[in-house]
């Protein structure tokens, strides 16, 4: 019997969610730079507002350009739908606000982006939502941290900046034992390297600012719904399973089935919180997504070469990347991330903070800034920048040491990257 004739990943990266513009024939995705959309008549308007017909009403809620990106990301992840947001942090907040209210509880990996940690640790408690942090390798720790009021388990595919590889199927099983969804921040891996829904995740978020965009010119986020979680059977999510007064008693799980979560996230979250992505940003991110497969292949090839270069350099005390045999999650990475474990790596520089300063300031190609996933190679000292709001205990739990330098490996010729690292490391040791 024949195989299913689904379009493949590289094709979907270029085409999913879009066909040539019917009005103009434009091949590229047009930027629909408009706030609102003319209704056919009053009856058409009323039926759009009442979710009797599909279509665009107001660009805070949906926009044709942004919808192409949303559909494309859902296709690449193997999900049912996406809402794009103003930033990755907005996507995380949208997920939390859709899943729970005051009294809710989150179990999170401790090795996550500093901004996410800050939201969980310091901001959400003001709204009555508490978080318990667990080391990403402590599978039983996730299980034991779950409480009756827990509404989400959260982790990153590859931890930031410690590069712990999450045993995603194991953590998913723990979450599902408790009838709770697992949400994954897959920013570091993108769907090219890992499709978390295939490994048991229920929700995915991205900072599309990073590898999905790839160019470092636009901030954005995405929240993707896998459509597998059974909200009705769980019984813990009234936002999905009980009539919503904000939409005339609409029961999202009943009416939208597998798309209940993402429909609720858009209908309520974009309407009421409004952290939407602009159509121009969506256009920028789409330019990156079109070349995602070829870029990610080059990213991981370069990162692999840099990791092995640093691993044998005398100025380096340790190197952390799952491609290396000594990484604690090397075998797990080989199994779950066979195309590569991403292009972010960290290492310890001999000579401490001062040597680190000389190294970063000595680099010529690498740019010193607070981002990852650019086509250009980047460098930062996490303890004094991205993770500086953490206290010593939280830094230790996140695996961030004073000597740690984080690199995001770009698409330059790898011989130039190795040369730049070599000269800056020599400079760092001349103190």
């Amino acid at each position: 019997m024949v195989d299913p004739n689904y379009l493949k990943f590289d094709t979907l990266s270029l085409h999913a969610g879009q066909q040539p513009d019917p009005a103009t024939g434009a091949r590229a995705v047009p930027i629909y730079q408009t706030t609102s959309y003319v209704f056919d008549d009053t009856e058409h308007a009323a039926s759009l507002f009442n979710l009797e017909r599909a279509g665009h009403i107001y660009s805070r809620i949906s926009n044709p350009t942004t919808a192409v990106l949303e559909e494309r990301l859902a296709a690449l992840e193997g999900g049912v739908g996406t809402v794009c947001t103003a930033s990755g942090q907005a996507a995380l907040h949208l997920a939390v606000a859709t899943l729970m209210g005051s009294g809710g509880h989150i179990v999170s990996s401790s090795a996550i982006y500093g901004g996410s940690h800050n939201m969980f640790m310091h901001t959400l408690p003001r709204f009555g939502i508490e978080t318990s942090f667990v080391h990403p390798r402590d599978i039983d720790g996730f299980r034991h941290a779950i409480r009756p009021e827990t509404r989400m388990v959260f982790a990153e595919t590859v931890g930031n900046p410690g590069l712990e590889v999450l045993d995603l199927p194991a953590v998913a099983a723990v979450a599902h034992e408790a009838a709770i969804p697992l949400m994954i921040d897959a920013t570091f891996t993108t769907p090219y390297l890992c499709r978390p829904f295939d490994l048991g995740a229920d929700l995915i978020m991205h900072s599309v600012t990073k590898f999905l965009g790839g160019h470092g010119v636009a901030i954005g986020g995405a929240l993707v719904d896998g459509g597998r979680f059974d909200w009705e059977a769980s019984g813990k999510f009234p936002t999905m399973t009980e009539p919503y007064a904000g939409y005339h008693g609409l029961d999202f799980a009943e009416e939208f089935g597998p798309a209940a979560f993402i429909m609720r996230a858009r209908a309520e979250g974009m309407r009421d919180f409004g952290a939407c992505m602009s159509p121009t940003t969506a256009f920028y991110i789409l330019q990156g997504v079109e070349t995602l497969p070829v870029r990610m292949q080059r990213h991981v090839e370069n990162a692999h070469a840099v990791a092995h270069f640093l691993d044998t350099n005398d100025a380096v005390s340790w190197v952390n990347h799952p491609d290396l045999n000594q990484h604690p999650d090397h075998e797990l990475a080989q199994r779950l991330l066979p195309k590569g474990a991403g292009a972010v790596l960290s290492f310890g520089i001999k000579g401490g903070r001062e040597a680190g300063r000389r190294f970063i300031e000595g680099l010529r190609i690498f740019s010193h800034l607070a981002n990852v996933g650019d086509a250009k190679s980047l460098v930062i000292h996490p303890a004094t920048t991205t993770h500086q709001q953490m206290d010593a205990q939280a830094l230790e739990a996140s695996g961030v040491g004073e000597d740690m330098v984080r690199l995001s490996i770009g698409l330059e010729d790898v011989t130039d990257l190795l040369s730049d690292l070599d000269q800056a490391l020599r400079t760092s040791q001349r103190g």
């Binding site: 019997m1 024949v2 195989d3 299913p4 004739n5 689904y6 379009l7 085409h15 999913a16 969610g17 879009q18 066909q19 039926s47 009442n50 979710l51 009797e52 017909r53 599909a54 279509g55 665009h56 809620i61 949906s62 926009n63 044709p64 942004t66 919808a67 192409v68 949303e70 559909e71 494309r72 859902a74 296709a75 193997g78 999900g79 049912v80 739908g81 996406t82 809402v83 794009c84 896998g226 459509g227 597998r228 009705e232 005339h248 008693g249 609409l250 009943e254 009416e255 939208f256 089935g257 597998p258 798309a259 993402i262 858009r266």
Partner: protein
Amino acid sequence: MEFTVDGRKVFATTGGQPFTIDKPCIIFIHGAGGDHSVWVLQARYFAHHGFAVLAIDLPGHGRSDPPLLESVPDMATWLLRLMDCAGVARAILVGHSVGGLVALEATAQAPERIDSLAMLGVNFPMAVHDDLLGRTAANDHQALDLINSWAHGYSAHLGRNKVPGLWMMGGSIRLLERAPDGAVHADLQAAADYNGGLNAAAKVACSALLLLGERDRMTRPKTAQSLAEAIPNVTIVVLPNCGHMIMEEYPDEALRTLIEHLM
């Protein structure tokens, strides 16, 4: 809302409006392995425009109790019993795929109770490849992927969902995955075994609509010709570029056609 038929729970969504028997009733019937949610837009529209709507889950599907029903005539007889239990004397029937055959057969079994009939993505005979039947009998996931792939026109494989941000191919495979083991197979087998289509068509006393997708690879429009010719009062509409999943691939066109036929 829930009904009890033959001692078993039956679920139907009512399109966001209370179900009352003082309005004209439309009953929506899903296809193989589906549930009521495939009709979400159409159900909401008609429920807010003067109709009492029941988008049902067939026995053993969605939120309705098992057991699965094994033949189209059995499903049709059951549908008429559901109408009895819901206090519905007369109804408009709208069915998709094998659900369309159920609507046709129910119309033939009780022509005096059916005011209008709409069949979407329906042909006769509704042949199903033996290999596909074998794979669905074994609950092989690849069978679901094959159905999902064939059920959508090429245009849908690219996307451009009318509902912003939703990926049709993803939503449809998740819905098929939700079907209990055996449900997809039972529905496909019932469709393949049904041989009463032309006899039923001849008994249709009400106006009928055949809404077909030009690019439908599951129920090709040309294979619906004999059925169309057997129905006394039928309107045939073929949507360009559309595959088998008419309600999600072209929701506006599907709704407009239903409005023209039913209102």
